[in-house]
């Protein structure tokens, strides 16, 4: 058994493990004051060992006990993507220990270094690199210790299955070596990494260690976590964005069983009860009066609203030559506008957290992708120091970005503080669909030209995105309660992939950062990169048509001597039979088409090319996606099956988003509050996904969790064009929109 089950740990042992929390509390008494310390805390202060959480120290990431068991402390967390297993493969290989000796602690602010939020496909690329270097440094130290003990040169020693020995000689276990003296080591960036040829686990499809527990019902999700004496909480949100709570009739829930309690802080309203069902009934029953406000724009004219929103700042993401002149001079030019709907994360399990506020200390169990950030946010919300807050990660349902997990933590924290008991808050479905922060609506204007030889000669992109004012998203509960949360507006890294990966003498791409957006924004899988790649790659196809060229040829000739980019394009077009594809039959009721798209993620990371094969029914506008082909180069592959699992997921999830999804709202609030009003892809609609992985063991591993999602929207739009000759520039590509476009054609 490799993973720990935090619910099986003795709770006091968990709290004892928070040595750093108590120690720092004493060093920086903060607002609570040193006199606020309990006797137990003082004892803990004197006895608790302080676990390093330094991201620069080996002991921040790794510990070896006397039995040779290795504990990995990862600030990156497994959001259901399999990185727990992949990170263990990296560490086990670099240390030469079997996987079975490893245990991983994830996202515990008292025990794991702050490696940044688990987002942007960086868990392996950045987080794994930190762990690899820490393991390599530790390995060198173990060899030094063994050399002294065995009177051998460290160069003659090898570690095999956790045993250090010279050829033919008796060995010593790494546990014995670790027990010699505490490991206190700065990570050495120059510590020798093993050559790829010596990896035994990296590059193989090690089965994910979390899967058995998930199919037998023994895995503990955040939603399963319970504390003794815990109350069940539910939130009661305003009926309209920005409404003020005028009155609450507590008598309306008095007759319900379960000792219902009402918590009101300004516009924050919640209920708690002894049982979960009582809390749900109370939230449904509680009578509250809110001010009648209508703060949202007219959804029917959403993109006019986006275009008219005041611009706070402009970011120029690429600039060369003289675009205005080149466009004006060109005889073959085009312009087009693309838009992309508001999306919800749509986690299958609504957001959940358990928080205990007690004696000035805050314990928070959370499925947050950024426990260290959440710690600072909760501290701001509760007006305590960050050292008084400990956040511990437990996996929730997939979040695909910053969903409502952090908000649920704030809800639980506010209720626990008010009630003096641990509180578990789980959102209901309408809370999740209605109040998770959203992927913002995106509007993109493109202009381009080709020269007489059909080469790309001018390209101008104007992108409309909400501005960024902070790295954390405002906690909803804090906002409603009129409290701070060390946060602001952040739609994610949306500047990425606004610039194009192609050679063009005259190019200018500008991002207008808007002062506001209708619904609280955050990031959803591949934020910005997906929408930007949609517009850029669909527009490139429009220019290819203008140039009279095959879209593949225009891409290949425009790539700036990038052999890895060319390789994924060649591989995917071979895989899909691109060069020999039949011409669509213009008279057929159901037309079949192929569409190509390419991304060099953030112009510096993973390479992906995709081809979608679709059927379009002319009479209904219904699009069936038969198959999506993907060629993928993420450098060194850590776990091939895990990589395939992520690519399949990216394709299917993004197809759902692009073909079906749109958050709807009236002037007061979101109206797509369940799965019937916000439908997602179902099994009968799922396409086949055919994958060609390019492994480059001698190169650095790059991100996998997002890049292959970025190519899906344009591949689908281009395939629809190939089939029936219409340009789908507004996602989602619903049958209504396809039908309208067919009628116009």
């Amino acid at each position: 058994m490799l993973s720990i089950d935090p619910t099986k740990l003795d709770r006091r042992a968990l709290l004892r493990g928070a040595g750093a929390l108590v120690v720092t509390f004493a060093i920086a008494p903060g607002r609570a004051g040193a006199q606020g310390r309990t006797r137990q805390q003082t004892e803990a202060l004197e006895t608790a060992p302080r676990k390093s959480v330094s991201a620069d120290a080996v002991q921040g990431f790794l510990a070896i006990d006397a039995a040779g068991q290795v504990t990995v402390y990862a600030g990156k967390v497994d959001l259901g993507t399999g990185v727990e297993t992949a990170l263990m493969q990296i560490v086990a290989d670099e240390l030469d220990v079997p996987l079975g000796r490893l245990t991983m602690i994830q996202g515990d602010t008292a025990r794991t270094p702050d490696q940044g939020a688990t987002n942007s496909s960086l868990a392996i690329e950045k987080g794994g690199a930190q762990l690899r270097h820490a393991a390599a440094t530790l390995r060198a130290e173990l060899l030094r210790r063994a050399a002294a003990r065995l009177h051998a040169a460290s160069g003659d020693l090898r570690i095999v299955d956790g045993l250090v020995h010279a050829a033919g000689a008796e060995g010593v276990d790494i546990g014995t070596l670790a027990a010699e003296a505490p490991i206190v080591l700065e990570t050495d960036p120059a510590a020798p990494l093993k050559p790829p040829s010596e990896y035994k686990l990296v590059g193989t499809s090690v089965p994910r260690i979390d899967i058995p527990g998930k199919v037998f019902g023994t895995f503990t999700y955040m939603q399963d976590f319970r504390l003794p004496g815990m109350l069940h909480g539910r939130v009661v949100r305003p009926p309209a964005l920005g409404a003020t709570l005028l009155s609450v009739d507590e008598a309306s829930v008095r007759s319900l069983p379960g000792n219902v309690k009402v918590v009101r802080i300004a516009n924050f309203l919640g209920v708690a009860a002894d049982t979960e069902w009582s809390a749900i009934k109370a939230a449904q029953t509680l009578a509250a009066t809110w001010s009648d406000v209508s703060n949202l724009p007219d959804e029917a004219h959403l993109f006019d609203y986006v275009r008219a929103t005041p611009v706070s700042q402009e970011a120029v993401t690429s600039n060369a030559g003289d675009v205005a002149h080149a466009l004006a001079e060109s005889r073959r030019r085009l312009s087009a506008t693309y838009d992309f709907a508001i999306h919800t994360h749509g986690s299958i399990g609504p957001s959940c957290a358990v928080v205990e506020v007690k004696d000035g200390q805050v314990m928070c169990w959370t499925a947050s992708q950024a426990t260290h950030n959440l710690r600072r946010q909760l501290a701001a919300c509760l007006d305590v120091s960050a050292e008084q807050v400990r956040c511990i990660y437990l996996a929730g349902a997939g979040c695909y970005g910053r969903n409502g997990h952090e908000d649920a933590a704030a809800d639980a924290a506010l209720m626990s503080r008010a009630l003096g008991r641990p509180v578990r808050v789980q959102w209901m479905r309408q809370d999740e669909h209605g109040w998770d922060p959203k992927g913002a609506p995106v509007l993109i204007d493109l202009e381009g030209a080709v020269d007489d030889g059909g080469k790309l000669s001018a390209w101008r992109g104007t992108f409309f995105y909400p501005k960024q004012t902070a790295i954390n998203v405002t906690l909803l509960g804090s906002e409603l309660a009129g409290l701070p949360s060390d946060a602001g507006m952040d739609p994610g890294g949306v500047l990425n992939d606004t610039a194009i990966p192609y050679r063009c003498a005259n190019v200018r791409t500008v991002v207008r950062r808007l002062a506001t957006t209708p619904l609280r924004p955050s990031w959803i899988r591949s934020p910005g990169r997906m929408q930007n790649t949609f517009a850029n790659e669909a527009f490139l196809d429009e220019l290819a048509t203008l140039a009279g060229k095959d879209p593949l040829d225009l891409r290949l000739e425009s790539l700036d001597h990038d052999h890895r980019g060319a390789a994924v394009l060649e591989r995917v077009t071979t895989l899909s039979g691109w060069r020999t594809r039949p011409r669509p039959d213009p008279r057929a009721e159901v037309a079949v088409g192929l569409g190509l798209a390419y991304v060099h993620y953030e112009l510096s990371r993973t390479y992906v090319a995709g081809v979608a094969q679709v059927e379009v029914a002319r009479s209904t506008g219904k699009v069936r996606v038969r198959r999506v082909f993907v060629a993928h180069d993420c450098g060194q592959i850590i776990n091939p099956d895990g990589t395939r699992n992520q690519i399949e997921g990216n394709v299917v999830q993004t197809m759902s988003r692009v073909m079906k999804e749109r958050v709807t709202f009236d002037r007061k609030h979101v109206t797509s509050l369940d799965w019937s009003t916000y439908p997602i892809l179902t099994f009968p609609e799922a396409p086949d996904v055919v994958i060609d992985l390019i492994d480059r063991p001698d190169m650095a591993p790059l991100g996998v969790g997002e890049p292959s999602s970025a190519i899906v929207p344009a591949a689908l739009a281009n395939a629809i064009h190939d089939a029936v000759g219409i340009r789908m520039r507004s996602a989602p590509f619903t049958p209504e929109k396809v039908s309208k476009a067919l009628q116009r054609a």
Partner: protein
Amino acid sequence: MRSVPLRVNGQTFQVDVDDPDMPLLYALRDNLNLKGPRFGCGLAQCGACTVHVDGQSARSCVLPVSAVGTSEVVTLEGLGTPERPHPLQQAFIDEQAVQCGYCINGMIMESGALLRQKPHPSVDEIKQALANNLCRCGTHLRIVRAVQRAAHA
């Protein structure tokens, strides 16, 4: 408060219930501490809460506990164990047919009901049987492969 007998995974439990309309899901999760059936929507739209009631798949998030009566409830825990896995559980491991896994209870329980009725379904029949079970991670293809594998086990 009254005590209701409930047959779950071959055992009889007495469950204290304030409200006979309380859905079965809360009795399973909160009273019996089972983790297989999961809350997803409370609306019978997603399938994360699926259990078997007398061998038929049922959405425990909308089934009143008082309506269960003497029926036999089986949850994911009752389907198989690591020592004696159900063919579907083994197939989901073999196919690595999980991402976050929150929906997987429903996928296995719904497929279990299908295979009992139709031991060798076609791919289309599997997809139709799972048409009302939602997965957000996009694990659909692996899930279908796992059900096919279990059907041929």
